[in-house]
């Protein structure tokens, strides 16, 4: 009975689930707010610095290229997705919105690249957050 297939499946699922620890909650939040900080918190110094430099530089380049920063909106699907991408940059997005940057009219081709740089920086930070979480739960060294 103890080794029936149903019992075995439950046991396997229990082994696969991870316990909720402080680190597994705090790390993703900090990693989202400050790109690369989730890795730095867990003493992955080189990875953290490389992620921080890459994401922050990409975001700043996007702003310098006069890229558009999306605001929360319920309009066109591409505008909604643009906002989701931008908001991935966490603290960078919050500061940018607070300073009212990234609201200029797109007047040249480079500005459109800037918009894409901003969105991709946010999306890369989402990947970075997931990676920091996997390190926190011990799924990745």
């Amino acid at each position: 009975m103890a080794n029936s297939p149903a019992t075995k499946n439950v046991a396997e699922r229990a082994e696969g689930s991870q316990p909720i620890t402080n680190m597994s909650v705090i790390v993703p939040a900090v990693a989202w707010l400050i790109p690369g900080a989730g890795h730095l918190m867990q003493k992955r110094w080189i990875r953290g610095v490389l992620l921080m430099v890459s994401i922050v530089t990409m975001f700043v380049l996007g702003l310098l290229m006069d890229g558009r920063v999306y605001r929360p909106n319920g309009g066109d699907i591409l505008d909604i997705l643009g906002f989701i991408g931008d908001v991935g940059a966490g603290g960078l997005y919050i500061v940018t919105r607070a300073m009212d940057w990234g609201q200029g009219a797109i007047a040249h081709a480079t500005a459109d690249y800037g918009t894409k740089f901003l969105i991709v920086a946010g999306l890369l930070n989402f990947i970075s957050v997931a990676d920091a979480y996997h390190i926190a739960i011990g799924k990745k060294p």
């Binding site: 890459s54 994401i55 380049l61 894409k116």
Partner: protein, 60 residues
């Protein structure tokens, strides 16, 4: 201050930063991270150059 990059330099910068993040996040061992990052970088830039030549041939 407005930064006006060329198409290629924008693609180059994009490739570098995206490849670094992909390399670090998608592999576990350090050696594999470097290899995968370089692989992504080559694919990004190769894709740009290939698309550029395809567009050139379509135009001529």
């Amino acid at each position: 201050m407005t930064l006006e990059l060329s198409h290629f330099s924008a693609a180059l910068l994009f490739s570098i930063f995206a490849s670094v993040v992909f390399g670090i996040t998608q592999r576990s061992a350090t050696r594999d991270m470097v290899r995968y990052g370089l692989y992504c970088f080559v694919l990004f830039l190769g894709g740009v150059l290939l698309a550029g030549w395809v567009m050139w041939f379509l135009r001529h």
